[in-house]
Amino acid sequence: MRAPVPAPAHAAEAAIPPAGAFTLFRRTMMARAYVRWIGSMREPSYLLADAVFPTIGMASYVLLYRALGAPRSFETLAVLGGVLATYWLNVLWGMGTQLYWEKQQGQLQLYFVAPCSRMAILSGMALGGIAATTLRTVAALAVGFGLLGVRLPAFDPLALLGVFLVSMTALYAMGMILSSAFLLLGREAWHLANAVQEPVTFLSGLYFPLSTFGQFGLVAATLVPLGLGVDALRQVLLGRAAHGLMPVPAEVGVLAALSVVLLWLARFSLAHLENLAKREGRLTQRWQ
């Protein structure tokens, strides 16, 4: 963001001193995150849709592995998949479709007319989404470790947190790109979100080791950051029993690189979209 140009000497008396770029970014991000957070607290129906229902699929895998007599580590693997599935659903439906929804509500033009950074808006959406979803993952953990009695081995919590944060950065950066892409697609956004939901879930190996795919697993993992994140988190939790695809440091390195590239792409695509909106006179209009 460019440094603010000093106001001309004739400028009207300002009621509010202009905030610096960083302060404005922080305030915008926190305000947008607040909407996400408070929204999930005030709408109990979200809890059912985003937290309770996804645990059903997870429970099915745990019970299936148990019935087949698979190693107990597979049950942990399925619980972790269930936890991460909630984030994926949040990225797809909470981030991906959001800007299109904002446009329909007439909100998008208010963002575009405000001096705040567009990336701050997206970052707020992501931060709020992660916070609210983390609360919901409690449901998955409660079902997995409490109700189904899945055992959790000893692990390094700091390593787990580090890998989790890098994975979430890459995943939500992908969500930021999706939000611009879906906005361009207009009404098709919902169909596309529906269309990609299951393939991405499958390619990420949420409920089975990605190494099952062999070489194809590597390709799939680099296409979708969720896959690498799941694989790395499993390895931190289960070690060799996770049947990891690559060593954890390598996976974290790829995820960090993906985060940088995806964040840059998100910024670029949103700026491109805004320019397109200004040039063609659409996208900020509800009916166009």
């Binding site: 963001m1 460019r2 603010p4 140009v5 106001a7 001309p8 000497a9 004739h10 400028a11 009207a12 008396e13 300002a14 009621a15 509010i16 202009p18 905030a19 302060t23 404005l24 305030r27 915008t28 926190m30 305000a31 947008r32 607040y34 909407v35 408070i38 929204g39 005030r42 709408e43 509500q105 007439g106 909100q107 033009q109 208010l110 963002y111 575009f112 007319v113 405000a114 001096p115 705040c116 909106a277 200004k278 040039r279 063609e280 006179g281 900020t284």
Partner: protein, 334 residues
């Protein structure tokens, strides 16, 4: 109006905007070489029928649209090259807009928009409370937005526009659909805000002539993308003055088409459902006597039940300049 020296609040030179030209074909010309200068401290009105180009102009000035050609500056900054600087100084309120998230309370929503402009948290809460009192939503401050009526949401949206205390405020049909009392209160607030806050400027588009007359220091009449007239309302009135506006209530056997009033342009109203009378409106030039017109109508078989005369209004000016009333809509797009 309290103007100050320096660059104008808004300065527009030869501004054009053509929609759809990039998709092949000639496109739709929404603005056709607009020149405009709005001084700081002014409340400036843009009057025009649907499709005249008012909203397109406001969108360009608020950095939401690129012009096809020409230049526009807001607060001394170019709307294309210095868009970020423009945004720091403006706010936009569009009538019928449903800003905010349903899960937030009214107060939270205003606070949120304040944050997007960098207002500190405490100041944003204070300002939200102050503005909610202005728009008479103090009792609904902790109500969730999705439980507000359309009118209440409209008023909240109006308050949102003032959260950043902008230098230049664009109001695009801000009282559209509001009840009379709320609209009047908001007009009074705008007038007081401009009067009391040094150098604040408002660009208002409206369909309501009375709103423009009451609020605006100057008015530009815009149609088909061009500014046809721009002046203070008294000066605009003088352009079409010369005579009185007469409205007669007539009854009689003769059909309206049979009434001949040489030198006048009479407009007949629909028959009154109960009284069976019709209204006849015309502008009476100064050299003509009303009594002569009344005698002529009596000779043609009409009986005059009522007479009223009035001064020239902005609506008369508008009709005289544009050639049709505000309600005679064109193609929406502007």
């Amino acid at each position: 109006m309290s103007t100050s020296a320096g660059p104008a609040a808004v300065e527009v030179r030869g501004l054009t905007r053509i929609f759809g030209a990039s998709r092949g074909g000639a496109g739709v010309r929404a603005l056709a070489g607009v020149d405009l200068r709005i001084e700081r401290g002014e409340v400036f009105g843009l009057l025009g029928p649907n499709g005249a180009g008012k909203t397109t102009l406001i969108k360009i000035l608020s950095t939401l649209l690129f012009p096809t050609s020409g230049a526009a500056k807001v607060a001394g900054f170019d709307v294309v090259a210095d868009a970020q600087e423009v945004r720091r100084r403006i706010s936009l309120v569009s009538g019928g807009e449903s800003a905010g998230y349903g899960v937030l309370t009214v107060r939270e929503c205003l606070w949120m928009f304040g944050q997007y402009y960098g207002v500190t948290g405490a100041e944003a809460w204070r300002r939200a409370d102050e503005l909610l009192a202005v728009v008479d939503l103090g009792d609904q401050a902790h109500q969730r937005i999705n439980r507000l009526s359309t009118g209440q949401r409209q008023r909240m949206n109006f308050a949102r526009g003032f959260m950043s205390d902008p230098e230049i405020l664009f109001l695009d049909e801000p009282t559209l659909g509001m009840d009379v009392n709320a609209a009047r209160a908001l007009r009074e607030y705008v007038a007081a805000w401009v009067r009391e806050r040094s150098g604040r400027t408002v660009l208002l588009t409206t369909h309501y002539m009375a709103e423009a007359e009451q609020l605006c220091d100057r008015v530009a009449i815009i149609d088909r993308g061009a500014v046809l007239a721009c002046d203070s309302t008294p000066a605009l009135r003088r352009q079409v003055q010369g005579g009185q506006h007469v409205e007669l209530e007539l009854r009689g056997e003769a059909a309206p088409a049979e009434a001949t009033l040489p030198g006048l342009t009479p407009v007949w109203g629909a028959p009154h459902p109960e009284r069976g009378t019709r209204t006849l409106k015309f502008r009476l030039p100064p050299e003509r006597a009303l009594v002569g017109v009344l005698h002529a109508l009596e000779r043609q078989g009409f009986q005059v039940d009522g007479i009223s005369t009035r001064e020239t209004t902005l609506e008369d000016v508008f009709i005289a300049i544009v050639g049709r009333g505000l309600e005679d809509t064109g193609v929406e797009g502007g």
